[in-house]
Symmetry: C2
Subunit: 318 residues, 2 copies
Amino acid sequence: MTVTSADVARHAGVSRSTVSQILNGHGHRFPASTRDRVQAAASELGYQPSAAGRALVRGASDIVVALIPDMTVGPTLQEFLNGLTDDLARHGLTLLLRLASASPESTERMITGLRPAAVMSMLPVSPRLRECIEGLGVRLVEPGRPGDRDVNVEIGYAQALHLIERGYRRVAYACLRDKRQDIFAGQREQGVARACERHGLPRPEVVRLALCVDEAIAQLRALETGTAVACYNDDVAAALLGGCRELDLRVPRDIALAGTADTPIARLSVPAITTFGYALGPAVSEASREIIDALSGDGHLPAFPPGFEIRLVQGGTT
Amino acid sequence: MTVTSADVARHAGVSRSTVSQILNGHGHRFPASTRDRVQAAASELGYQPSAAGRALVRGASDIVVALIPDMTVGPTLQEFLNGLTDDLARHGLTLLLRLASASPESTERMITGLRPAAVMSMLPVSPRLRECIEGLGVRLVEPGRPGDRDVNVEIGYAQALHLIERGYRRVAYACLRDKRQDIFAGQREQGVARACERHGLPRPEVVRLALCVDEAIAQLRALETGTAVACYNDDVAAALLGGCRELDLRVPRDIALAGTADTPIARLSVPAITTFGYALGPAVSEASREIIDALSGDGHLPAFPPGFEIRLVQGGTT
DNA sequence: CGCCTTCGGTGACGCGTGTCAACCTGTACT
DNA sequence: AGTACAGGTTGACACGCGTCACCGAAGGCG
């Protein structure tokens, strides 16, 4: 049923350890003829090494676990993960996903039991989990350290910059009231604030709301006419847009809105919401390279790579 | 660094095999005193069995792989996966996720190498992957067989039924032109058609569009006034709603719209879109029970469980 | 010839676990 | 006393793999 390295060895007429060495990068010790025989036998039999056997003898598995934040996994993130999966697969690594919102104990048990080659988190991990991971000697790939580019800061900055360039002098920042859903809000707000500061504008007012039109109305009442709002995401922008309609506020003249994430809701609103999409495409190769480097050399802990592109999708709300 | 069963054995003053037996459900052979000593030693040392060692000797790992369809993973699915994760963890199983859109070869390699206890797919798997999985003797949990409840058929049915009850006599079904994004369309359309048939209405017209307002306008021009449209999801409904606005069609008088999935876009539209949410909550325990049953007994291949709740969220579009 | 080196290849070990036949020690029964 | 039996415990094995010391043969050199 299962093809083991012993089967390959028999089929190639060599010993199992020869097979193991050739298939693990030590082939240079053997003449080409032997190498070819073994390779041929392996592919003919469809040999696939047992992850368990490998992991047992090497002390760590070939699995890389990605901790997925508690947020909507849309096309952007999906494409990133897809690319990363294939990239790592090319290096013999297996990417598997885990929701970060699963119970901490079960995640901890999973890590200690599985001994992944690396754990990649898209958000800073809890101190306890970090301790668990590092105590086990498992590599941890985390979001960039201070000083690195931060995609969320830059998105906030791009939003605010765009609004300022369009001539708005009053900039506000709108995010979700429920902070659990709002995992990037801090960084984005920081980006908005930084852009305002650099252009001599006062610190942006921060508006918090839940995702419904009624709350949007309440918040809009408190805003001065002429304010441009950088929104945490397109949903927030849509809520405010709906509120503007109910209040008969003209968009973008009375209130301007900039969203984030380039989701369908932005395109489908009337008017379409000006939004900032980002592609993590460039990050794929960087991320896999960082992981692979960290696993081969005993280098420092790599940071979640800063490769990304932000692009403006101009709509009618700014 | 790592605590092994040998450490536990030493600490408890028994042999390693005693530890193994007690920790694997064969404790009834031992007196309570021994059991307690071993349990105490295990928890005191924080013993966590090596997944690799287990997998090696048992021929299959404790990992359950869930194949995630190529779609947005929103709160509904996330909650389901979270619950399943914890539920399975309680039975010693580890749920890990994998994007179904990753390259087939890498997924195949992952399965053969990892030998998961089970693979759960939310969509029918490709014949080739099925062959790979079943050839390995790995359990496959798939969407329900014909005859089972199908959440997507029922959603379509509920949409159409609602529209019919509201008095509409012309029912259409709108879905995405790009079929790759439209993985459930067939079933939902089937549900809509069934409801129409049962109520003596003609077979529903099917409208295909890409997610933009322009396409919606084009499709709306071809629809008769007074048509009620069951939409594949809230995005489609939003696009049509935007189109109606541009064409000055009154909603719901000229065109009625029913969405699906209960996403923010439905709540945030003006008027709010009538939509059908579904909760997979009840499916969690069913799913884990099915998986566990299938793994303990050598029963038949279980089907993806039909436990779910559909609820109407009344908006202003019907 | 005797010694050393290189090439090609192998046997044996250990990773951590679950299982199971076998063993030991009482105790009950014949 | 001898036998049967049950309860409690253990040693040994196998799972599939990577590694590494080691070995035989061939060749070079003094």
